[in-house]
Amino acid sequence: MESDEDLLARMVRGDEGAFAMLYDRFSAPVYSLALRMLGDRAAAEETTQEVFLGIWRGAGAFDPRRGSVRSWLLAQAHHKTVDALRRARLRATDPLPAQVAAGSEIEAEALRGVETGLVRDALGGLPAEQREAIILAYYGGYTQQEIAGRLQIPLGTVKTRIRDGMQRLRRQLVSEVQLDA
């Protein structure tokens, strides 16, 4: 099987067949993430399309020093989904009622969608306040400032929780994930 890197190199040369193969490899995780975060099929489809067109146009910008194609592509997917989520929140006439849910509710809701044991266990092993901040940021699409506002805690506290929590996840997941690969 051709590596993701080879497919990307072919895409830079305008190879549509390589693009189709990359789509077949990654459309499910990209779509699933968008669906998980946006909660709407039409919006998830639109975002998935946007992600792959961005990958097609930006294939040349991939930098192997910053990680694998898989990580890069899923980071683009997350980025575009967060954009879509923030646009939808701006469009909402009265965003407050939807957002009064406490962080812990969103956290529980987000964690229900987290199926894979490895990540679920790693998140579960974090101190509750670190887990909450990371889940609100990643699955909720909130900035550190927004999280501080929602939880009514100082911005510095949110930053510390996210940093410490991510360092812990890194120690637990990165070696394991890389051994898996």
Binding site: A28, R66, A75, R120, I162
Partner: protein
């Protein structure tokens, strides 16, 4: 921002949880910092695992078709079609109409000659910008060499098509090398089952089909054309029946330009 400040922001950067200003500062620094690149690769592996761990849902097959359709080459090849039967129809009146349009252009130019210099300067700026755009576009096209030959040609001539529809349609060509290209932007869809057909119009005789095309909404289209342009005095576009157009125009031109 110092290295240490950026390094502290990398986890939040990987989560897309930074403000736009912080995002820019991080990206500026990471470009030149190998340590940060390595750390970011690790945090991106964490977030990729988080992405991978949501409940997997297969996207609908129609989405695949849409996405793949959207990356088809932005340049359609216009293949001139043979004339299957003898001319019938509008060619005479059509050519006359163009002659009248040309006369109107000359009159108008005389009347607004003062504005013309400014307009020429604008067009010149526009031309260099569009040449750049065409150059970038041409990298991806099958007819790369032909387009590059056109774009890099100092003898390049340009005509802006105007008429009854709003659209940004330019024709660039070089009479000596006989290479030309129609550059289509912001042209509305010709309608269900219809195509735009391109015609080269000589002073006498029937218009010559130079191919058909359909614009794709939101994307530029370049139609390469090879012809002895010195034989023609106008280029025109009419809306015809798809998919292959008509042997002779069946409707008045919607856009045209004098060569």
């Amino acid at each position: 921002m110092t290295h240490n400040q950026v390094a502290e922001l990398l986890p939040a950067y990987a989560l897309d949880a930074l403000s736009p200003e912080d995002v820019r500062a991080v990206e500026d620094h990471v470009r030149g910092c190998q340590d940060c690149q390595r750390d970011l690769a690790a945090f991106t592996t964490v977030t990729a695992a988080m992405a991978d761990s949501v409940l997997m849902t297969t996207p609908p097959p129609a989405l695949r078709a849409r996405v793949l359709e959207a990356v088809r080459p932005e340049v359609d090849v216009a293949v001139p079609r043979p004339v299957p039967h003898r001319a019938r129809g509008l060619s005479f009146g059509w050519a006359l109409g163009l002659a009248a349009a040309a006369a109107a252009v000359v009159v108008a130019v005389g009347a607004v000659g003062v504005i013309l210099n400014q307009r020429l300067a604008d067009l010149h700026t526009q031309l260099s910008r569009q040449t750049e755009q065409l150059n970038a576009l041409s990298i991806r096209v099958t007819q790369q060499e032909q387009l590059l030959a056109i774009v890099t040609n100092p003898a390049l001539k340009r005509a802006t098509l105007a008429g009854s529809v709003v659209g940004d349609v330019q024709f660039v060509y070089d009479p000596a090398s006989r290479l030309g290209a129609l550059i289509v932007r912001n042209l509305t869809d010709p309608g269900q089952g219809r195509v735009y057909q391109l015609w080269l119009v000589a002073a006498a005789g029937a218009p010559q089909s130079a191919g058909v095309f359909r614009p794709v909404t939101g994307r530029s289209l370049v139609v390469p054309i090879t012809a002895d342009f010195t034989r023609y005095r106008a280029i025109a576009i009419s809306v015809e029946q798809g998919p292959s157009g008509a042997p002779l125009p069946t409707a008045p031109p919607i856009l045209s330009a004098i060569l």
